[in-house]
Subunit: 351 residues, 2 copies
DNA sequence: GTTAGCACTCAAGTAAATAGAGTGCTAACA
DNA sequence: TGTTAGCACTCTATTTACTTGAGTGCTAAC
């Protein structure tokens, strides 16, 4: 693969062609390059070089008498070797910083929107994923004669509420006892570690109130599962419609469809994006760029996807990505994501 | 307005035209009707009647030599007088019933999706709106040396958690005292009723811990405000792209845009849909039908919107709506919404 | 190795021709 | 007076042929 080394002139020409195409979206002709660059070569010479570049697979001709456009391989080379990252401001980032986003999901939604507005492409962001959730602390409280409230603290200081049906009102002293039993036996365990053995022990110690224990454990399981569920927020999906190369065929339609169904999208991103990552590490800094067919998600095969991984605390991370046409402004997108990453970092460290 | 009473034959013809147009989406010609109906009239006669109906404003001709299509006024008459509600099954409704939707927002999301899948149009549903939220019960608990947890129960048995920063660990006995003070003074008050007078009283009784009170009150305010915020969930927005009359011009694009920005959509639905309701009560049972320009939301002026109001408990209600092309299957949509309403009713009563 | 020049290709736009669905109107009929 | 047959007319949509222009590949000369 690496046999086809390009001499510096070919590189310069390819670079010029891609840059021009990214700007205009029109196939680029030899004359344009001849004038556009300071190589001072005639169009005929450029034509020869272009023919070579096409043979090498970096360029493609939509039809015989049109100019050239970059192939996926061409884009790849551009991203790997020619791109000049711009340092991009993320506009209005202060706003996000300012509003105290106590709920992380609100923060994530804001970030997605910001990215979409700044880039004019579509964006998505997942909730952070914990390796596994452990129970830190549980407390039962009376609500009324028929309901108890279980406050469940998971690793990462996430409090969850679960209302539990009760057949009668429990004495405060009984609840105190139950709370102690539950915490002493369950603390720092995750779902897999709570086995029948432990459950039996709890029931024994609970004595006559063991009927309640089943429901409490259900509540815990539910809380942990809920928090394990990755969610995805998207923004600017409709921006996709602005790019004729996508809205022409029904790529855009399929893409919108994928972006709309958050449930499915979450699975896709979790399964596919993560697994491909390790496989071919086409990485630029901490940023991954998937061009066209490199993307593991079918409905994005006519697009490019740029993703980054944010870390909210040691080992707890999520993905953020931008989806646009293959001729997206890679320089800008990568730059934007990079500054976003550092800014997010600041927010999370501060917390 | 009510001067132009239509004789029964005109009604029959108009009915036939609209039904045919709803099915095919193509302008309807006189010959079609002549054969399609059992009126046994020649096409020429139908033509005369059609000319009359056009003059009266019920039909419209896209261009001279095309058939007729219904005007908004025509649709209106159809919906008010001619529609035969079908009793529509809502497929897979059991699924929703089955899964215990402990969080209402999950239930609402499911419902939206169900509607979209069943009808092939776009759907939206708002979270229920309380007139005002009162505080039922608050409890402070220790988390660790630097944090307290405030569990805040609002009217409607909605528990909310707020983590509060603390400068030191509080004794259990102190917390107990604070809890009693807070509850005795704040119970059953809403935001407006918590005034400086009351706040002063609490601080007096809290004594040396009054510093904490400010933060607790902030937490309460936040919890109430959060719950007051109406949210909207949508589904099937991309279905809109299936209707050429919308995706032709950029109605669909604008509509998708509106449906994507939940924040803005929530405001629109809250402001506009509710206010128009009382104004011109174009109601069919409990269902409102907005045809074309009747819709108060700009980006939906080329569509029809059918909404219903669900009640989750006495005085607490939300809106659910379906957005489709003007030539939507009103019979089906209205039927679907009606059965949905009764089914939702069952769910909420049972709770 | 570079360049000028020329014949060739192909998409896109323009213009004219055709087909077909549907109308409005008139005149005749019951 | 209401209904119908018939015919000329209108307008869109589709097809076909023609033209334009950008861009190429190749050859021959520098």
């Amino acid at each position: 693969m690496e046999t086809d080394r390009l001499d510096s002139r070919k590189m310069a020409i390819l670079n010029a062609i891609i840059r021009n195409y990214l700007e205009t979206g029109e196939p680029v002709g030899s004359r344009t390059i001849s004038k556009f660059t300071d190589l001072s070569l005639s169009s005929a010479t450029i034509r020869n070089e272009m023919a070579d570049l096409e043979e090498l697979g970096y360029l493609v001709q939509p039809h015989t008498s049109a100019g050239r456009i970059p192939s996926d391989k061409g884009y790849r080379l551009y991203v790997d070797k020619m791109m000049e990252e711009k340092v991009e401001e993320v506009n209005n980032m202060k706003e996000v910083l300012d509003q105290k986003a106590d709920r992380i999901e609100n923060l994530l939604k804001k970030v997605a929107k910001l990215l979409a507005v700044n880039t004019n492409y579509a964006s998505m962001i997942t909730t952070p994923k914990y390796r596994s959730r452990k129970l830190k602390f549980i407390q039962l409280t009376n609500v009324d004669d028929e309901h108890l409230l279980a406050i469940i603290f998971l690793e990462g200081n996430i409090p969850k509420n679960k209302v539990i049906e009760a057949d009668h009102r429990y004495e405060e002293s009984v609840l105190l006892k139950l709370n102690i039993v539950l915490n002493s036996l369950l603390q720092d365990l995750d779902l897999e570690e709570i086995n029948m053995n432990i459950i039996q022990k709890i029931k024994e110690q609970a004595g006559e109130d063991s009927a309640l224990i089943g429901r409490v454990l259900d509540a815990i399981a539910e809380a942990i599962r809920e928090e394990d569920n990755i969610e995805v927020y998207t923004s600017g999906a409709t921006n996709i419609l602005n790019y004729p190369e996508l809205s022409g065929d029904d790529s855009a339609r399929k893409l919108l469809y994928t972006l709309e169904d958050k449930q499915e999208l979450a699975e896709l991103v979790d399964d596919k994006l993560s697994s491909v990552d390790s496989e071919h590490k086409r990485t630029k800094g901490d940023i991954q760029v998937y061009i066209g067919n490199e993307t593991p998600i079918d409905s994005m095969k006519n697009c490019s996807v740029v993703t980054a991984t944010y870390e909210i605390e040691e080992g707890v991370y999520g993905k953020v990505g931008i989806i646009g046409p293959k001729r997206m402004d890679y320089d800008k997108v990568v730059g934007t994501l990079k500054t976003l990453m550092t800014q997010l970092d600041e927010i999370f460290r501060k917390k």
